[in-house]
Amino acid sequence: MPKRRTATTTMTLREIKELLQAEIITGDDRLDEEITAAGASDLMSDVLAFGKPGILLLTGLSHSQSVRTASIIEAKAIIYVRGKKPDKVGAELAREKRIPVLTTRLMMYTACGLLFSHGLKGISPGP
């Protein structure tokens, strides 16, 4: 019988980068940051409503408001999916706010599925 996982799985950004074959856009000095939960959406309205501090944000929204939103909810890092990258304003803001930003060519579903199957938890709705 497989051993039941009890502790929350933590992954470093470095491990996540390898798993998703991602490239770093900014924050290569912060790859040892530990991530314990992730959330994914292209809708910033929903990220603001359901996001939690400390999460890894996966999004396909390249507009600078994705970085602004991550900064407001205190996300630990952003991964853009489908090969997207933040626009110039967003990349600058990420550097200023010291939010690591990565990009992967994987689709949203695949990126999330890989992280989830490696034990990285999602966020639950509600307060």
Partner: protein
């Protein structure tokens, strides 16, 4: 039309206490690349004066959603933060088209957003409900054709 979501006691608290810090930000409608700057500055102010981090996140989210509404719908507006020892009070006013039916606008999912707003990841009809969710007191009043005014109060002594 005005919709009140408040306990009257909070307003008395707001009037009784002296304002220890007041900051006003002008917001330009349609300026999408600077949208959110006021709320980012507010977040920095709250961090500097040592407000509890869970309150800062609630305040930042409410402020950011309100600021985005001004940028998206109005020509100009303002966001004023008054801090007393008891509360954070955000007053957000704009000269936008106003809201015809506030009760409808408060429903999650109701949206009048344009494609331009959706390109920024907004316009899911979550803004006003999310402001209310993060506030201890939320009041909105609006006159169609004139503008909209929001009062958002977050208590510094209670945790929501």
């Amino acid at each position: 039309m005005a919709l009140r979501e408040s306990a009257p006691a909070h307003r008395k608290i707001a009037m009784r206490n002296e304002i220890i810090l007041s900051q006003r930000f002008e917001i330009r409608g349609g300026d999408f690349s600077n949208a959110g700057k006021a709320s980012t500055s507010i977040k920095e102010i709250l961090q500097e004066i040592g407000i509890d981090s869970s309150i800062i996140i609630r305040a930042s989210i409410a402020s950011y959603e309100a600021e985005m509404n001004v940028v998206m719908y109005a020509q100009r507006g303002s966001l004023t933060l008054n801090i007393t020892p008891e509360i954070l009070h955000f007053k957000v006013e704009d000269d936008g088209p106003g809201i015809e039916n506030i009760e409808l606008a408060m429903q999650e999912g109701f949206s009048t957003a344009t494609d331009k707003m959706r390109e920024m990841g907004f316009g899911a009809g979550m803004g006003l409900p999310n402001i209310k969710k993060n506030a201890d007191v939320f009041e909105i009043s609006s006159k169609p054709g004139k503008g909209t005014s929001l009062d958002i109060i977050i208590s510094l002594n209670e945790t929501k």
